[in-house]
Symmetry: C2
Subunit: 598 residues, 2 copies
Amino acid sequence: MVNPLISDRDVDFLLYEVFDAPALCSLPAFADHGRPTFDLVLQNSRRFAREVLFPTYKAMDAEPPRLENGRIVLHPLWHKIYPQLVALDVIAASRPYAAGGQQLPLLVTTLASTYLMAGNLNAAGLVGLTAGAAHLIEEFGSDALKQDFMARMYRGEWTGTMALTEPQAGSSLADLKTRATPTGEGHYRIKGSKIFISAGDHNLTDNIVHMTLARIDGAPAGIKGISLFAVPTRRWQGSTLVDNDVAVAGMIHKIGWRGGPSLALEFGERDDCHGWLVGEPGRGLSCMFQMMNEARIMVGANGVSTASVAYHQAVLYARERLQGRPPSVKADASRPPVPIIEHADVRRMLLRQKAIVDGGLALLAVTALQRDLAGHSTTQHERHRAGLLLDLLTPITKTFPAERGFEANALSLQVHGGYGYSSEFLPEAWLRDQKLNSIHEGTTGIQGLDLLGRKAVADGGAALSILTEEIEQAVQKASAAGVFPAACTRLREAMARIAELTMQLAQKGLAGDVEGMLLHSADYLELLSIVVVSWLWLQQATVATQQLGQDQGDADSYQGKLCAAQYWLATELPRVSHLIDLCRSGEDSYARMQPAWF
Amino acid sequence: MVNPLISDRDVDFLLYEVFDAPALCSLPAFADHGRPTFDLVLQNSRRFAREVLFPTYKAMDAEPPRLENGRIVLHPLWHKIYPQLVALDVIAASRPYAAGGQQLPLLVTTLASTYLMAGNLNAAGLVGLTAGAAHLIEEFGSDALKQDFMARMYRGEWTGTMALTEPQAGSSLADLKTRATPTGEGHYRIKGSKIFISAGDHNLTDNIVHMTLARIDGAPAGIKGISLFAVPTRRWQGSTLVDNDVAVAGMIHKIGWRGGPSLALEFGERDDCHGWLVGEPGRGLSCMFQMMNEARIMVGANGVSTASVAYHQAVLYARERLQGRPPSVKADASRPPVPIIEHADVRRMLLRQKAIVDGGLALLAVTALQRDLAGHSTTQHERHRAGLLLDLLTPITKTFPAERGFEANALSLQVHGGYGYSSEFLPEAWLRDQKLNSIHEGTTGIQGLDLLGRKAVADGGAALSILTEEIEQAVQKASAAGVFPAACTRLREAMARIAELTMQLAQKGLAGDVEGMLLHSADYLELLSIVVVSWLWLQQATVATQQLGQDQGDADSYQGKLCAAQYWLATELPRVSHLIDLCRSGEDSYARMQPAWF
């Protein structure tokens, strides 16, 4: 048996039984498509991920890029897989025809991309980054930039990066110092240091375009002084590309994502780095937030994929590895050992992983669906509604797979026992990969502040009201199907208490106590994540129950869904009440704790 | 500021304010000692760990042992530190004078050893393993073996290992196949394969003694057919040591504990491997359990130490790293950035680590104290009582630091942000080290089965009754001091519910449903761990409150204790109720889940 990376059955279940992806084709944007196109896209991703990408993963993890003569040299396998990845036409798959894309729903392309991520995170990451960078130019760039940069990036001829972080500022973008000096010749001179720039250099394509945040000379301090620039590694001089003074200052020795480079870059050491403004001056962070929100959902997809491939590996191992006997016959050594999947505690570890992985995949799907609806629904009301729900879900979709995925990855290693602790087996590599997802594109702490401080309280809590409606619908359907009645009640009550809690916290903030309002933002993020994933498990359980009633053909898969839903709703949903209590009470231990007391 | 590895103040607080270590000196075994001896032992460990061991850690992690010509070559630094480690006289520190030891209380030596572990896990591990192996011979070996092997091991001239695990059997020792054939010449011929043997070979000492489980020819299948042997790598031929046919078959590429080797060993490939029986034939596993119980507590100490050194590194980093501003002035970029310890969510991550680390250290201390009392109290009643409590605490002391320590280590990495994801910073190395502790010396799953299936139900639940008494005493003292009244009530109620739950589960087992009884053993281990650590936090909070009332001299430390206690009792103790509900209800998702449904 080989690792499927992502379960085809689960993806089909989400697309065609839970979320009805073909219904999107009634929207004008997607009118050319239908299930056959979707299946083809999925089939191409699946095959490529399994046959080409996955077999390269271990070698690329073992031999990270090297820094030689100031430039990055990638593992030779990159040169084999990158052209094929470009040929798969994934970079612009969801972009409009006008931009060179295929105008496919993100619901489909996002799930298709999870196969690539599960097969080889770095390879998928490079095209994802490029797509995000090009999308910024598509949205905010001049026609000249679209022609020069965007089109080549969508075709995979050049790649892209996000160049935000600076050594002294870290997550605090307000403190970034990179400067942009106007030249009067249509471009700016860029000067500054960036760090942790993924794919910031490589030897795969002729050029790399860095979407760079910088301050135009004379701009105010803080966030309002930040503008966005496209800064290529090489620039056109006539029809040839010449060096644009973007130097590799150092390579980070990452513990995971080892197939690709993460770099410190120096812009304009020789005062000869040209950058082109993208969007309005002073609006850089606001433009970048578009890319960041996309990137956060991509991080969520990375998290789900990394947890998924490890989960499937653990299931395969647990079915094959013979060890021990059930407790009832433990003493009888004359009986043959059983596959460890027969041990209840091993099944517990596997089912917990499944609850996280399938729950995370559903979360990813529902978030991608909101992006499709927010962008392409035919009424302003529907677009607005989906946009609000998308905003609320984004920090959850970014964080849940990162945090719970890490737990799932640790369980996959644990199922492998002593062998899991060896680098000859893959679970430890995925565990290392997963850890980045709680850090990059906004740490878990920052997602909590974003969720409670912005998304949940925006427009008088409009997004939470929409979530409440969605949950109410799911509860009604579940109740009609007789699915998990106790959990239905609990979920409905939890959502009501969350709405009330959010109002109280918002009032605290309005009264000037912003720190008090946000003190338990980590708990708030955790509890809302549990509720959202419970909502998705309830929906999946309802569909599985209905399908089991109609057709026993795929009973194994539906039974598995029901067990995982039961597990999640029994073990996680009841925790929400305690977390709400913590937020309400304003438990103040770490608020009071002084630095000297540690 | 340099990393203290373990807080001296915390160790002194436990030894001299919470557990009254000098009171042990009223027992005849420890009559020669007093606080001055204890302080000297601690001081030696502290200095050696900080000045010698810790500076070697990173280099040894980066350059693991090599397998050359069938033998293991260690990092050259080993040759510098090992003789000093032996000179520190830690191997036999807690053993009786008669065995060449110093007869020190384990309460003191265990806490002293945490400094060594936090400084360099592999170095401390080698002497710990040797001590455990020698202790087996001291307890069960013949006088000849004591003279030949034990004495040299306690003096550090030879080292020791535990050779239990076999490739096909893993955790299922009943299935081990290594054979021992009597020769009629006082020794047996040993033949078989072992795997994951820590320090199974090296070039530090002349010889290594493997405490090996094997079956004497004709012995029954299963556990009762297993005997214990001392099998040296070299044996005496006259007065010279000759090869004893113990070959290195392979080296495991571990992800952590990289300073020392973990090996596959082949005994008797040439049919020339001599082993000497230790204890009675067929009693091997029962003898080995002594060493395993010690080893499990040592694993707990490793876990606490690994979490501690990472916690202190995170505190240092958070005090120095400037980034961002508090929410209330976030928008004002004219203000200077603050140390990240000023951010509430960073303090949350640090306080959570402190709650786990200090809680784990207290757990380690109370367990070591029970070992001292079980071995040396003057009445049979007291020894029996301490022994029961020790049995109950052992799986918790093994597991809590492993599982919660892993969480703490991940938080230390998270506090370091992007830098934490780089191997140039140490937190990622400690995270890798920590992961072993949930696997070796009995996985977390096995500890859960041991706790619920044996320790909690033995003697009609006698150990739980003792724990209930201890908790009642702590609650009464806390109540008298006015400390955390709500938590006092909650803790008392939780313990009563646990006693009732345990009775129900035991009855289920007696009625023949062993699988049903043990189904939630993982939850049971988790909930009892939370209760035990809550008990220890309540004790610490009571002492801190009393000391604050008397003397403000060390107020920072006591205030920190109170905040950590508050955090633990507010966030973790309330979770117990839900976990008890899960155990009581027999929630059956993973019981029902079929292998084909994953």
